[in-house]
């Protein structure tokens, strides 16, 4: 009928405390990559075979690929320069603050007479940059902390993990706001750094959990018994085997980073420089024209939703594919 559930695992899942749910999710993911009774290749291949037929994954992957390609080629396919104001003459602050669609401008313009479609296309770039760099920095920070904690263990481990747990217990968006408010003059780097900081504890806990699961695994014990140096074990055996869960988390983090970046921009904590359009920023600026031109908000918001959904679908199906529980 059903697989019997390991009582130790069940016990662990049900123990609550601060930020427990998030920690559980992270820990479950950390365990997922550390199954060492099957060779790594077949594990990944098995996951891939399942994913290839999974419509959820394919949808997510298609959205993601389109978005990344668009962001890369954006400057070449955008019909207008994002700083040019070809529709300036159409802007009437009193009667018609936002020019509507017209020949050459399928989506119309914004309140300064710039071409909306071009700004949307080029905006994908900033969104991608912020999402990728924030996740990347969060990942690097998390890998460093997690590796230190997982490899050294003992007092260092508990100290690092206590700090990580407190960070995880703060609502992440609030933490991002707080960090962003430290910036003297906000720029896209404010966004990247503040979002990276809220990702660090997630990756740190993930890496450490995954390393702990592997420290007692057979291949690490074998390497240790052969007298392989500790550093070599960590970098050659433990880190590479943690990569699966990290990729999953990174994919999910990208979605969160994009949504959070939009929220920060919306509150005016992001990049105020309108020469670099970004979807969150465009959405924030559109607030003023809610009754006259709601489409000004709908387009960037739609883009954010679709892209975030793409990463989420991909990440969730990857997680499912790696999860031993669903792999029956």
């Amino acid at each position: 009928m059903s697989d019997p559930i390991d009582p130790a695992v069940a016990e662990d899942v049900r123990r609550p405390s601060y930020g427990q749910r998030r920690r559980d999710r992270i820990d479950a993911l950390a365990q997922a990559g550390a199954v060492d009774d099957t060779p790594g290749v077949s594990l990944i291949r098995g996951a891939w075979l399942r994913l290839r037929r999974n419509p959820v994954f394919l949808t997510g992957a298609a959205i993601t690929v389109c978005f990344v390609v668009l962001a890369i080629i954006a400057p070449w396919i955008a019909p207008w320069d994002v700083t040019a104001r070809p529709l300036l003459d159409e802007v009437r602050p009193q009667t018609n603050p936002v020019p509507g669609p017209q020949p050459g401008h399928p989506l119309g313009g914004d309140d300064r007479g710039r071409d909306l479609l071009s700004r949307l296309i080029v905006g994908s770039r900033q969104t991608l940059i912020v999402g990728v760099f924030a996740t990347l920095f969060g990942l690097i920070g998390g890998v460093i902390l997690g590796t230190i904690a997982g490899a050294i263990g003992g007092a260092v481990d508990s100290l690092v993990m206590r700090i990580v747990d407190v960070m995880l217990s703060i609502p992440s968006l609030l933490l991002a706001f707080t960090v962003a408010s430290l910036a003297r003059s906000p720029s896209q780097w404010t966004l990247i750094v503040s979002i990276a900081i809220i990702q660090i504890p997630i990756f740190a806990r993930l890496l450490r959990g995954s390393m702990l699961a592997q420290r007692s695994s057979d291949h690490v014990l074998a390497a240790r018994s052969l007298g392989v140096k500790k550093r070599a074990i960590v970098f050659r055996h433990m880190l590479p085997n943690s990569i699966g869960p990290v990729i999953v988390q990174a994919t999910l983090s990208l979605a969160v980073a994009i949504i959070d970046a939009a929220a920060l921009s919306f509150l005016g904590l992001g990049n105020p420089d309108q020469r670099q359009p970004e979807w969150g920023q465009m959405l924030g600026l559109a607030q003023r024209y809610i009754s006259e031109a709601p489409h000004l908000a709908f387009y960037p918001a739609g883009c954010i939703i679709v892209v975030a959904l793409g990463f989420t679908l991909m990440g969730e199906s990857l997680r499912e594919a790696l999860d031993p529980k669903t792999r029956r």
Partner: protein, 336 residues
């Protein structure tokens, strides 16, 4: 049970202490230093000197931290510069708090009341079209930024169709008596029904917007958890005993399935504050979230200090309450 609560309380104190250190570090690294940050740029040199002395900026860090703690415990956070210029920062928080409580409670109530039954329903029909549709909607729900949901609701229900008020907490024409600061409750207590109804109408849209994310999360956790529990051996045992469907569902399935859901609700309750920052901004709803947004944007650090610390404490307290509730329904925690 008592020992469990005490242990949790102790843990909570440690967390708050660590948070206060983080807040202290944050305050020290504010642009322009803490003095400018708290008093604002345009202040008399006397007041600056007074604050510098109070903060003990020339003294070693541990002493500074100790002074900081003292001020925090006495509720001296400084004076608001931007949100409500001239008002004590703590008072700003206290006057704004009821509005956010009202909003958050309604939002969480909506999320729980709709999310749990729907999650249970979806799990019972796992794999069906209804289930797939609801799961896809909940995934989309998580991908939609809260402030855009708020924007959409505001655009359609308030601007386009004119069904509900666009912003604020109470229409200007209404002269209501204030008792608790919770406008709906005030109206009910004083039997000013029109005031209560008016306040409720102002609440609906922001609460709906705020409820979307917790709803989506609670729905998904409930569904996953019920699915897990339905697979458990003890549900089969209950079936083998020939118990009625009602007893199996309530006593054996739901009770166990609620454990992870409860943790999630606690987590979401804390997360509501972040959502309130965005939702309240869209609806110009004068609560703590709007104050946070304004002070973030306008760099009103005196108010920020209070609000961040309060947010953290509220979050930790909610988690404590959840832990206790958890222990009440899970004997494995209570009797360990």
């Amino acid at each position: 049970m008592l020992r469990f609560v005490l242990r949790r309380l102790l843990q909570m104190c440690v967390v708050v202490l660590v948070l206060s250190m983080l807040l202290f570090a944050w305050l020290r690294s504010l642009p322009g230093g803490p003095v400018s940050a708290i008093l604002g740029e345009r202040q008399t040199p006397e007041r600056r000197a007074a604050l510098e002395a109070a903060l003990g900026l020339d003294e070693p860090l541990p002493v500074q931290y100790q002074k900081f703690l003292q001020r925090v415990l006495q509720g001296e956070f400084g004076v608001s510069t931007k949100v409500l210029p001239g008002t004590d920062a703590l008072d700003v928080f206290l006057t704004r708090l009821p509005a956010t409580i009202e909003l958050a409670v309604l939002a969480l109530l909506l999320a729980v009341v709709i999310g749990i039954p729907l999650g249970y329903f979806a799990a019972r029909r796992a794999g069906s079209a209804v289930d797939t549709t609801t799961v896809i909607f909940s995934l989309i729900g998580v991908a939609v930024p809260v402030f855009f949901t708020a924007f959409l609701l505001k655009y359609f229900f308030a601007v386009e169709w004119n069904l509900l008020p666009v912003s604020g907490r109470q229409s200007t024409g209404i002269d209501a008596t204030r008792v608790t600061g919770l406008f709906v409750l005030d109206g009910i207590l004083t039997r000013e029904w029109d005031a209560a109804w008016d306040a409720l109408k102002h609440l609906i849209l922001p609460a709906l917007a705020l409820a979307t994310i917790p709803f989506a999360v609670i729905f998904r956790i409930t569904r996953a958890s019920v699915l897990d529990v339905l697979d458990e051996d003890y549900v089969r045992t209950a079936e083998a005993k020939g118990l009625s469907t009602g007893v199996i569902r309530s006593r054996h399935v739901l009770r166990n399935a609620m454990l992870p859901v409860l943790t999630t609700i606690g987590l979401q309750a804390g997360g509501l504050l972040a959502g309130a920052v965005l939702t309240e901004t869209v609806f110009s709803y004068r609560g703590v979230g709007e104050a946070l947004a304004t002070s973030f944007r306008e760099k009103d650090y005196a108010v920020l200090q209070v609000l961040i610390l309060a947010a953290a404490v509220i979050y930790v307290v909610i988690n404590l309450l959840v832990d206790i509730a958890y222990a009440v329904i899970d004997p494995r925690i209570r009797t360990r």
